[in-house]
Amino acid sequence: MKKWILGLTFFILASFSVFAFTWPQTDVTVDSFANFFGQKRGEAFCNSLIFLSPSEVVAAEKGTVLVVTGENSGEMGWFESPLGNSVILAHDDEMISVYGNLQTMDIDSSAKYLQAGRLIGTSGSSGWQNGQSGLEFQIIDTQKDATINPLLLMPQIDFYQRLRIQGISVVSRDGTEYDLRVRRTVPPGRYSLYFQRLNEEHPYSTTVSINGAAVETVTFDVLTKSKNMLSVSGKRQFTAKDVYPKGQKQLLAEISLAQGRNTLNISAKSINGTETSLTYILDVR
């Protein structure tokens, strides 16, 4: 499974040079987003890139119109998708893109093919949204059965994404929690290592090293199925329940602390390479 995930990641990064999307709306900056891919959304991973404000929405890449949803909205006997009014396009290489939470649609179900940049509609409030938000945008690889972080396939924009790592704690197997801000002495054993996430920030990847050796890297590049749930890859597949157990905690790693002095290094990276790191010296006894 791990080799498969590595292979998929390589494939995605390799594909970037030959197949890339454009932004589905204009004037995109670091402040354009309400939710990032992989963030906690409801009780699950956010499988979309959600823009902050309503805007005109365009096709991010040329493609065939697969389905237009929302025209049955409100009709008795039909379910309501949390995507609201949406358009789904099929592209080459078995990729599809999803444009959800549309308020108005400039195309209807008679549309067959759209060029990149073609106006699809305007985003708004037809779907499930928590607070202010606009377009809900997804990119999916149906060949690999994976949802891809759209930022990986978008043109890079120059922005500095602030990342903070704070509120570090470890939780033992029996549920005992140690706040490393105030206590650096912990018993030896296996722990889940967490930090306090902030709603307005979300790292692309986090890496934990103990005594200079990397023990875990969790990357929010793709979401794949693990049994009945979507998961992100690390040393194992982590579900949303693993990564976001309770409150504002976010999982960094599952670690073993051996007796003695342990240098714990935590780093968080944004998608454009900005890195923040933190180091703790733990006395494990």
Partner: protein
């Protein structure tokens, strides 16, 4: 003289032929569909509300625009609720919810106060077979019991486009062309990919009440209707038919209650497949097929279709004979059939018509 005899002979033969023709060629006139209006009520007019303290034996659910509730066959509104965003209603339960819904309070038929809560972020959907929640992001589904406890959930990587629930479980159609069938306890029973198109997508799906049959409308370029049946523990495609034109929106697919027929929407009307003989018919109708309601005693189905300028109701007898229909202007509508009566909702009114053949 000879001429007169010939004429007389011709007249006699002609008369005998005429009498024989009348006796043998005549056949009784066929019965015609008759709709007899019984009442029309305004759902906002309090004179049509059920008297306080009265108990309604039969209550029929309705949802039109931002209004939902129940009415009686006698033409009384037993409950009316207005909701600001969205709502869901079945014959026994109802709930309204907000755009950022994460806790949904639900009500039973006769309760004015909530009887339970569903915890989960997404949009709920109540059917006659259970409570369902479509999760945020559009790719996940959960089922809850009638106390609001989660029974199972399933997260997929691709959006849900179509859905069907039956006593046998649920069938979910996805944008990648896959149908997943789950048991009522959430066990994944089968994965079905009809294929056969350049771009796979499941636009409509239905699982029969017994779970033995699965039908779907799938694909773009070319789009087809597919029927699969379970035999000896294996599910296999027993019929498929390429549709004239691709539809690019969710499509109705529905088995008849006796599972003898399956109805499905097409770009030009409604398709009907006989599940035993596998004979298929397409009946040309105007509009997008929204609802099919059976009148079992009369071997008739009523079809509601949405047009650009309103709605149409069509009547189809037996296997594929269009016997009537009417069109009306409305922003919102629904149809429901109880016994041999058709109820038609139109904006703020509900009408009852008795259906007869005479």
């Amino acid at each position: 003289m000879k001429l007169k005899e010939n004429i007389r002979l011709c007249l006699i033969i002609g008369s005998i032929f005429l009498v024989l023709y009348i006796l043998f060629a005549a056949s009784p006139l066929g019965q015609e569909l008759q709709l007899s209006p019984e009442w029309t009520i305004d759902i906002k007019d309090r004179q049509y509300f059920l008297e306080e303290g009265s108990v309604a034996q039969v209550q029929i659910p309705f949802k039109m625009g931002q209004n939902m509730g129940y009415f009686t066959p006698e033409g009384k509104i037993s409950l009316l609720e207005t909701f600001p965003f969205k709502a869901t209603i079945s014959s026994s339960y109802r709930a309204s919810y907000s755009q950022n819904s994460s806790v949904v309070q639900f009500y039973s038929l006769d309760s004015a106060t909530p009887i339970g809560e569903i915890h989960g972020s997404g949009f709920p959907f109540f059917t006659e077979n259970g409570f369902f929640l479509f999760g945020v992001g559009g790719c996940s589904l959960a089922q809850y019991d009638y106390s609001g406890n989660k029974i199972w959930n399933y997260e997929n990587y691709v959006p849900i486009i179509s859905f069907s629930s039956s006593p046998a479980g649920v069938a979910v159609g996805y944008a990648d062309g896959t149908v997943l069938v789950f048991s009522p306890t959430g066990e994944l029973l089968q994965t079905f990919e009809p294929g056969g198109s350049s771009f796979p997508v499941i636009l409509g799906v239905d699982l029969s009440d017994s779970g033995q049959q699965l039908a779907c409308v799938s694909g773009i370029d070319r789009q087809r209707f597919v029927l699969a049946q379970e035999k000896n523990g294996l599910t296999k495609v027993v019929y498929h038919h390429y549709l004239e034109m691709d539809q690019k929106e969710p499509v109705l697919v529905q088995f008849s209650q006796d599972e003898d027929y399956v109805f499905y929407g097409t770009s030009i009307g409604i398709g009907i497949l006989d599940c035993s003989s596998l004979e298929n018919r397409i009946i040309k109708l105007e509009g997008k097929i929204l609802s099919v309601q059976e009148v079992p005693n009369l071997d008739l189905v009523c079809v509601l279709a949405k047009n650009k300028d309103g709605y149409s109701v069509y009547f189809i007898e037996g296997f594929g004979n269009l016997v009537g229909g009417f069109h009306f202007d409305a922003e919102v509508s629904f149809i429901s059939v109880q016994d041999d009566s058709l109820y038609v909702g139109k904006d703020n009114t509900i009408s009852k018509m008795k259906i007869m053949f005479e």
